[in-house]
Subunit: 718 residues, 2 copies
């Protein structure tokens, strides 16, 4: 979700000082920054977080890269700042650094690299803003110089920075009209918490400057200010000129919804839930986890090896995922790189205060920068390992996202395969194998919404990519307290979910970049269509059957897929040069599950910008610059640099290095159960081996035996 | 899957004796019956099963019913036999009892019943066969007489009995032509294991008698005989006349696939899998589970109370599922009855030996009768409770399915809701709640395929119904050992999954009967359609949006739903007489996830019989006789008693007692990984509260705290 919020305090200067502290804090007290700061008028105890077992992040000051894909270290981040400070175009004016990340070496180099080899020259990929211009740079860290520099390569701007957000809120709060509008409603500015929805892009009028919207909520009596919108108040702020360019107040007369029942913090609850308590339950591994994390980023577990890293924009990146062949023991490539490339969230309300809410959360805000520390025992189980993110603030200083990713073995009580024979048969067989998987997880809190990303690895070769949604609804104030008060002629844009609160209908689309390399980079995308065939007269008592027919996608045009229940297909990525012993091409298939499609008009500006959601599956020719489905510069972009545009080139994709893009969708019609915090909703898709292994790779997996399981007692506190 | 198998032994009489023992065993040695019997030539050790901690079933001789929906007890089953033995039409000839189950009291009576009330007169519902006629009887156990008796109410026959299956195999094996065909292939009858696919119904020629197909496999060198088809040999057996009515041998020249790599039992593996071992991991609840099972069948957990019972045909039945209101604490009705009503599995091969493989596993074989004991620690986690099934064999004697259902609390390391605030905000919030659910599970091994049914209850009110598939493929012999040997002109009906083995393409459709009673029996089905609307010129910078539009289904015609990705809807079951404080009708929605539709021609005989799969959702008026989507007598039925026929009556369903039917589908194009045993594949759908609760019912749920969690050590065996 969808809006970065910032809070107005009476002592605004104090807040700003804190914010500067946030941007510049020292690594040795990183772990404190989230837990000590100004007193809130609404008291927030952090003891519960600490009780949950906060994992103190490591000191990353002396981290060194050991793999070509390792993220920039603290020292490298500092070097970027040094290089850019003495870079001639920036000598007089240091730009705001909106993104600083590893400029990954070319894929062929990475593929040729092996442990123990020297690293390739390390480079940083920087997106900066200066005087309203977007600068895209590559900084050679070994040579200590800018190796490449492009200005305004496409429309749009880089991700907004935390500084932008606080600037926008500050500008809005010092705007006289906001003060008047608040006073007219009997609200004081000090009670407002303001959020910063991105403006989208709605025509040439929005071309000339970097703008952001500001809307405010009443935080009186609750930390869940999201449920108390001051409806109809919208400021449009020019971020760079630091001025309000538009102000609308159409909401006078719409009451601010009350605070009752909005509070969700555990320590603020005054009652027990209406249910019997659940006895303590835990995933226990007294001998410890079975995976290792080597050199900070190489994860090894069961038959899997992959590189895992935090990313400021994508949140979490899986690289070089390889699985051990069940026959030869050889490590074989499955996925060169996989990550959430963009997240599109259009709200369905044409109102002047709502039409622009069509977020692209990865490109506009960043999924990594908003991925807060996971809560041990509740976000992730007890047997988790945590990984920190090392990111960069807009002044070029690094900061930590501690405990940003957790990694754990999941055992949910399920089987990975099983078979019984009925007793009348001579073979009295009861065979079952418990399923244990490995999960890498992060949770981005993009304002109100929380997105939990899971990459789950199974020993049978399957990778499940799951997105779960929780957090707060983006709600709309309404005069109505009851459905019966809504006039028949009034077209609401969502259901009443509390008194004076409309839960506006919206969608979520998460587009994944899946650079599949089945054994080798050159792969082919094959649609295996199940076609109904009629039998010919006399052939069979059966009149019809389904037959699997393979269609090789020769070009990008052939690989734009809309899923159809009544015209079903499987979607295989095969290596045409590598075959199983039986002659089947080795491959993986993309297996959709529950999903939703974007139904917006293709000419609607948000859909043009998010045209990457026009299909559920696309396949493109690999191009190292085509990483972000909504464009490198997604903020206020016009859609000139999206996946849909790249695909239009209709490149050859047969037996080429290809990238698969899968979009997972959700329609969300809110209901009262989503108030004041939403029960988690999940959906997923799978990457599943298909003739990749010669046979079931877990045929020989051992069952669980009682003798191996732990002996547990209630903890000493009982 | 789809075929009940039986094994030919040299000493066939010995086998038959054992089978009779199975049908008549004494409860006190039930736990042994699965583990002591004839020696197999292929040695099978059962020690591993025992090591896993086999849960000895209880003695059920003295069970008494304590709830109107409790299944028949041993004493009641014995009484049924006594009553029918002295029932005049059966005096000279006792019929074969194909199904004996509780004849449930009328719904209004059950709804009026409360704990402590006397039970209503107990009745048994019996389906029997005598002289080729299907007898449907109700036996009043209190009065000790037959209360109702109908002969041949529809086309079709009752589920086949285990006696039928062994009869069919015996008849086939004593058929001279089979002996000749086997000898011609160099196979001895004693090496054959024969299975009994149901014949479907393919026209008037199959009306006059009860038939079954018999096909054989070579069990030489493997317990996984399913991977060694003797292709092209099919016998059609008249079960009642005990004679072969048709014999085809079209497969000479097709080699029997080899046994290599087909064995899946753990003790038969000679190698470790190619992966690092996984450390012991377990779901631990040292204070025990949080649920109770009262009076054998009433499950109470967290905010849920429901009745759970095994069923010979449906496998597992959930009744009277009620959830506690999060405001009032009152127990509120959600579901009167839910179960798997039918399971349709059409194979896609018109071949003379394959066309009929279009199984309806519940109605033809029974999901309960084929639900073998679950394997502790591997089918279900360590913290499981097990429930036995008390069923009836065709001679009227009862028998136990021990450990047929497991019930456990699942904790998979996930959260049930969460929210974080970014640090620049004054509210430094990290709130997350771990998700613990309750799962009821059974696994039916209908011949080769294993179907795992999970009913998962969440504290937020959601019920997830999941079906998982594992077991063995039904494979076809082929002369080809390699894809390159397959002539371009040859249309195979599936991929080569091993040398000489084709994995024939097939579908699975599981149709659930969901008698929703949201607070009260009278409910309304509402389709909430998301419709694309264009804005009018000048209204908004946005051109389009989605608006939720509700359509009340007035009659059954209005409630036949084909899911459409590009015309999406939610499917609500609401109580029009009960509204939330805001005026929203209280309801639950059916939430599909990944699924598949049947694409067969509606006039194809199997699709006519399985016309209940013509839509993904149907809603019918409640009728106590409409339980089985494929008809009460599904075996060789013509489709005259299916859900599709009932729905054609187009009854009023608005504000009436209604039943929702949901069909979960799978297309399966096999691959080499499915050989020799299939990694589990799952799909699910949800029943989810929508304005049923006034707000998030788990808002007040406590997080997990470290102090509450167990202290565990590796077991003593380390």
């Amino acid at each position: 979700m969808e809006a970065i919020s910032s809070t107005l305090r009476c002592a605004f200067i104090f807040f700003t000082a804190l914010f500067l502290l946030f941007l510049s804090w020292h690594p040795l007290n990183n772990s404190d920054i989230f837990y000590t700061s100004s007193k809130n008028r609404i008291r927030t105890k952090f003891s519960s977080v600490l009780e949950h077992g906060f994992h103190k992040p490591k000191n990353h000051l002396k981290d060194n890269p050991s793999h070509p894909l390792d993220p920039l270290t603290v020292q490298e981040i500092n070097k970027v700042r040094t290089v850019l400070s003495s870079y001639e175009p920036f000598l007089s004016n240091f730009p705001a650094l909106h993104s600083v990340s590893l400029d990954e070496p070319d894929k062929d180099k990475v593929l040729s690299w092996g442990k123990g080899h020297p690293l390739f020259p390390r480079k940083a990929f920087v997106i900066a803003l200066l005087n309203g211009q977007s600068h895209v740079l590559s900084v050679d860290l070994d040579l200590g110089r800018v190796a490449n520099h492009i200005i305004n390569p496409t429309s749009g701007y880089p991700m907004v920075s935390m500084t932008d957000l606080s600037t926008a809120v500050r500008v809005a709060l010092s705007h006289q009209q906001l003060n008047i509008s608040a006073a007219r409603r009997g609200l004081s500015l000090s009670e407002l918490t303001c959020v910063t929805p991105s403006p989208g892009w709605y025509g040439p009028g929005e071309d000339v400057r970097r703008i952001i919207k500001v809307q405010c909520f009443l935080s009186r009596g609750t930390t869940n200010y999201y449920m108390r919108p001051v409806e109809g108040l919208t400021l449009t702020v020019d971020i760079d000129k630091k001025e309000v360019v538009n102000f609308t107040d159409t909401g006078f007369g719409i009451p601010v919804p009350r605070a009752t029942y909005t509070e969700y913090r555990y320590e603020a609850q005054d009652k027990q839930p209406e249910m019997e308590p659940i006895n303590p339950i835990s995933l226990e591994q007294p001998k410890g986890p079975s995976f290792t994390v080597e050199d900070g980023h190489i994860v090894k577990w069961a038959n899997w090896v992959f590189h895992l890293k935090p990313d400021q924009r994508a949140g979490m990146v899986i690289s070089r995922a390889t699985v051990r062949d069940s026959e030869t023991g050889e490590l074989r490539s499955v996925l060169y790189k996989g990550f959430a490339s963009e997240l599109f969230v259009p709200y369905m309300d044409p109102d002047e205060n709502w039409y622009f809410k069509t977020y692209m959360d990865a490109g506009e805000y960043g999924l990594g920068i908003t991925a807060m520390p996971l809560v041990p025992l509740n976000d992730c189980p007890r047997n988790s390992y945590y990984m920190d993110g090392t990111f960069v603030s807009s002044d070029g200083k690094y900061f930590l996202q501690p405990n940003m990713i957790c990694l754990f073995e999941r055992y949910a009580g399920d089987a990975s395969w099983r078979h019984s024979e009925i007793p009348v048969i001579g073979f009295k067989i009861r065979e079952a194998r418990a399923k244990v998987t490995l999960v890498a997880r992060m949770a981005a809190s993009v304002g109100n919404y929380d997105y939990i990303f899971d990459w789950e690895f199974q020993t049978d070769g399957l990778i499940r990519i799951k997105v779960s949604l929780s957090g707060m609804l983006m709600v709309k104030g309404t005069p109505h307290e009851h459905v019966y008060q809504i006039p028949y002629t009034e077209k609401t844009t969502g259901p009443l979910v509390s008194e004076n609160v409309i839960g506006v209908v919206h969608d979520h689309f998460i587009t994944f970049h899946l650079d599949m390399d089945i054994d080798e980079p050159n792969n082919t995308f094959v649609k295996v269509n199940l076609v109904k065939e009629e039998t010919f007269p006399g052939e069979s008592p059966r009149k019809s059957l389904l037959r699997a027919k393979s269609h090789v996608a020769k070009t990008e045009d052939d690989a734009r897929i809309k899923l159809k229940l009544y015209d079903p297909s499987e979607f295989h990525v095969i290596n045409p040069s590598k075959r199983s012993r039986l002659g089947n091409p080795t491959g993986y298939k993309v297996v959709p599950s529950g999903t939703a499609a974007s139904l917006l008009d293709h000419l609607d500006p948000p859909q043009t910008r998010a045209a990457f959601t026009n299909n559920q599956i696309w396949v493109t020719r690999y191009n190292r610059t085509e990483q972000w489905a909504g464009g490198l510069l997604a903020y206020q972009s016009k859609g000139d640099d999206t996946l849909a545009v790249w695909s239009r080139r209709n490149r050859d994709i047969e037996n080429k290095d290809i990238v698969v893009w899968y979009t997972l969708g959700f329609h969300h019609i809110p209901c009262q159960e989503d108030f004041p915090v939403m029960p988690m909703v999940s959906s997923s898709f799978d990457l599943k081996p298909v003739n990749f292994f010669e046979r079931n790779p877990i045929l020989r997996a051992p069952p669980m035996f009682e003798k191996d399981l732990p002996v547990c007692q209630p903890s000493a506190s009982f």
